[in-house]
C-alpha cells in the first residue's frame, strides 16, 4: 500500500534536484525562443560598441580595449541579474508559483541556486560570444598572461553578481519598487570592480586585491540571501502577505 511506502525523501536529494529543475527552464527552454537570444546578444554588443567609441575618442591606450569588450559582456550579465533574478520572485509570487514552491518540501535557497545557476550557464555562453565577436570586430589582442586573470575576475564577478541577484530577488519581495533603487546602488561596486566603467588597474589597485574584493562578495551575498529568505518565509507565514498572490 502506497501509504506505507510513502517514505520521505532526503532534504539533500530534494535540494539538488530542485537546483537542476529550476535551472532547466533557463537553460533549455529559454533557448526555444531565438528572439530572446538575439536581444540578449544585440543589446550588450551595442553597449560594448558605444564604450569602444568613447574610449577611442579619448585616445585611450589600445590595451584597455579588452576591458571595454569585457565590460560590454558584463553589462549583459548585469541586465540579466537585475531583470531575471531580481524580478523573478515577484513574478513567481504574482502568478502563484512562489506559493507552490513554499508548499513543497524544497527550500528557497535551492530554488535561488537553480535560478542563478541556469542563468549563469546561459549568460556565460552568450558572453563568450560577445567577447569573441567583440574582439574580432575591434581587433583586440589579449596576451596569454593577461587573459587568464581576466577570465578569473570575470567568473568571480559573475558569482558576486548572481549572489547579489539572489539577495535582490528576496529583497524585491519585501520592498517591491524601492528595491530597484537599492539594486542601482549595489550595482556600482560591481561595475567598478568588473572594470565596466574604467579599468581598475588605472587606479593603481593591485590585481590581487581586486580579485580578493570580488571573491569576498560571493559568500557574503549568498549568506545575506539565505538570511533574508529565512526571515521572508517566517514573515510570510505570519502575515499571509509575502507568499500569497494578491498581497
Amino acid at each position: 500500500m502506497s501509504a506505507i511506502q510513502h517514505a520521505e525523501r532526503s532534504p539533500l536529494r530534494i535540494f539538488l534536484k530542485t537546483i537542476v529543475a529550476r535551472a532547466y527552464p533557463r537553460v533549455v527552454a529559454a533557448n526555444r525562443h531565438k528572439s530572446w537570444l538575439f536581444l540578449d546578444m544585440a543589446l550588450p554588443m551595442v553597449g560594448a560598441l558605444a564604450m569602444v567609441l568613447v574610449y577611442q575618442g579619448l585616445h585611450a591606450p589600445r590595451q584597455y580595449l579588452g576591458f571595454v569588450v569585457m565590460g560590454g559582456a558584463m553589462l549583459a550579465f548585469w541586465q540579466n541579474v537585475l531583470w531575471t533574478m531580481g524580478a523573478q520572485f515577484s513574478w513567481d509570487r504574482g502568478n502563484g508559483t512562489l506559493e507552490l514552491m513554499a508548499v513543497s518540501p524544497t527550500s528557497f535557497e535551492a530554488v535561488l541556486l537553480g535560478m542563478a545557476g541556469g542563468a549563469m550557464i546561459m549568460t556565460t555562453v552568450r558572453a563568450a560570444f560577445i567577447i569573441l565577436i567583440g574582439s574580432l570586430v575591434f581587433n583586440v589582442t589579449y596576451t596569454a598572461g593577461g587573459l587568464l586573470p581576466a577570465i578569473g575576475v570575470f567568473l568571480l564577478t559573475l558569482g558576486a553578481l548572481y549572489g547579489m541577484g539572489m539577495l535582490l530577488a528576496s529583497l524585491f519581495l519585501f520592498y517591491s519598487r524601492e528595491a530597484w533603487h537599492l539594486g542601482d546602488a549595489l550595482q556600482e561596486p560591481v561595475n567598478f570592480l568588473s572594470g565596466l566603467y574604467f579599468p581598475v588597474k588605472a587606479l593603481g589597485i593591485p590585481a590581487g586585491t581586486e580579485t580578493l574584493l570580488v571573491a569576498a562578495q560571493v559568500p557574503i551575498f549568498a549568506l545575506l540571501a539565505g538570511v533574508a529568505l529565512r526571515y521572508l518565509e517566517s514573515r510570510a507565514r505570519k502575515d499571509g502577505k509575502l507568499v500569497t498572490r494578491w498581497e
Binding site: M1, P25, A102
Partner: protein, 352 residues
C-alpha cells in the same frame, strides 16, 4: 455488551480531551484535525477574523468538502493546513503532524491545487512543467515522468502534454494543475475551488479524476473547498458549511439536507415588481426565504413549516401586485440547509 461500551465511550473521549496537547487518541486515523483554530488578519484599515474557533475532524479516506460563500474563510483554512499561514490561535494537525511545529516534514506529504491557478513558466511545455514541480518533491525523474504520462492520459491531456503551457485552454490548464497535485501521491490533497470558472465538461472531468484517485488507495484524503452547493453534494462524503469564519453545520450531504426534510420547499417564480423578500420572511411559518434573479424573473425559494403556510404566501404576493409565473415544490438541497441555518442565501452573504 454494546450498551456497556456505549456508556463507557464518552468517558474515554473526555479522558483523551483532558490529556491535551497531542492529537486525540484515534489520531492515526485522522487526516486533519483542528482545535479552536482562529486566524485574524490585521491590515492598516481593518481587522478581519477569517476563522473563528474552528473544530474539525476529517478521517483518512474521506473526501471532505468545505462549503461557503465568498469570504467565508475557506482559503484561509486551506492555507493554514498547507503550512502557508500560521494560525493566530488554536491548533491544527495534518496527517498527525502539527502544521506550525512540524511544517517541514508535513510538506512532504501534502499538495495543494487552487482554481484558476496560473503558476509555472510560460516557456515550459506541460510535461516539463510537471516534471519541474515533481523535482521540488525529490521524486525520481523516471518515475515522475511515468506518473505524469499516466495522469495526463487519464485526463485526456496526452497530446497537450507537449504543448507550451501558455497555449492551454483554462480547462486544460486546470487539469494540468490537478495532475501536479496528484502526481506526488500526497497523503492529504487540498483543492481550493478546483472547478471554479470551468465549463461543465471540464468540471466533471476534474471531479471524476479526484474520485478515481481516491478510489486507488483508501487511505488518501481530499479536502476540497467550493461554493458550488451541487458539487459538494455530489462529490463529498462529508461537508462543513462555513460562514463568516465559523462552521455552521457539518455532516454528510444527506444528513444536512435532512435538517430541512420537515420543511416544505417551494420555488416561486415571479415577474419583476415591488421588493417582497422581507414581507415574505415576516409571514408566520416561513422558515427562510431567499431570492435570485434569473432570466428577468425573480426566483424565490421558500422554506415553509407546512402546506398551510402557502395560502398566506400567495395572499402576500397578490397584495403586492406581483404576478406568479411559476410555482413548484421540490426536494431539499444543501442551499436550503444553508439558508435555514444562516437565515440568508449564499449570494446575500456574499453581497455583505
Amino acid at each position: 455488551m454494546k450498551v456497556f461500551f456505549h456508556a463507557l465511550s464518552p468517558t474515554l473521549e473526555s479522558l483523551s480531551a483532558v490529556s491535551g496537547s497531542h492529537p486525540s487518541s484515534n489520531s492515526s486515523r485522522l487526516a486533519v484535525e483542528t482545535r479552536r483554530l482562529t486566524r485574524v488578519y490585521k491590515t492598516r484599515r481593518e481587522t478581519t477574523t477569517a476563522l473563528h474557533d474552528v473544530d474539525l475532524e476529517v478521517e483518512q479516506g474521506e473526501l471532505f468538502g468545505v462549503l461557503g460563500p465568498n469570504g467565508a474563510g475557506k482559503t484561509t483554512l486551506i492555507k493554514i493546513l498547507v503550512t502557508l499561514l500560521l494560525p493566530t490561535s488554536g491548533e491544527a494537525f495534518v496527517d498527525s503532524l502539527d502544521v506550525v511545529r512540524d511544517y517541514k516534514r508535513l510538506r512532504n506529504r501534502i499538495a495543494m491545487v487552487s482554481g484558476g491557478e496560473q503558476a509555472g513558466y510560460g516557456v515550459l511545455k506541460v510535461r516539463e512543467q510537471l516534471w519541474m514541480f515533481s523535482q521540488f518533491y525529490g521524486m525520481d525523474s523516471k518515475a515522475a515522468r511515468r506518473r505524469i504520462d499516466e495522469l495526463l492520459d487519464r485526463l485526456g491531456l496526452a497530446e497537450a502534454g507537449n504543448k507550451e503551457i501558455t497555449s492551454l485552454s483554462s480547462g486544460m490548464r486546470q487539469k494540468m494543475n490537478l495532475v501536479r497535485g496528484l502526481m506526488t501521491d500526497p497523503r492529504v490533497l487540498f483543492l481550493d475551488e478546483p472547478t471554479v470558472a470551468l465549463d461543465v465538461g471540464a468540471a466533471r472531468d476534474v471531479r471524476s479524476e479526484v474520485q478515481r484517485w481516491m478510489a486507488e488507495d483508501p487511505t488518501r484524503t481530499v479536502i476540497l473547498t467550493t461554493h458550488y452547493m451541487q458539487e459538494a453534494d455530489e462529490l463529498c462524503d462529508r461537508v462543513a458549511i462555513v460562514n463568516r469564519g465559523r462552521i455552521v453545520a457539518e455532516g454528510a450531504p444527506r444528513t444536512l439536507k435532512a435538517s430541512v426534510d420537515e420543511d416544505v420547499i417551494v420555488d416561486l417564480q415571479l415577474d419583476p415588481g415591488t421588493p417582497l423578500l422581507d414581507r415574505l420572511r415576516a409571514i408566520e411559518g416561513v422558515g427562510a426565504a431567499s431570492v435570485r434573479e434569473e432570466d428577468g424573473v425573480d426566483r424565490f425559494s421558500l422554506l415553509l413549516a407546512d402546506d398551510a403556510v402557502l395560502p398566506r404566501v400567495m395572499t402576500t404576493v397578490e397584495g403586492a401586485g406581483r404576478r406568479v409565473s411559476g410555482l413548484v415544490r421540490r426536494q431539499p438541497t444543501l442551499e436550503d440547509a444553508f439558508v435555514k441555518l444562516v437565515g440568508r442565501s449564499m449570494t446575500e452573504e456574499e453581497a455583505g
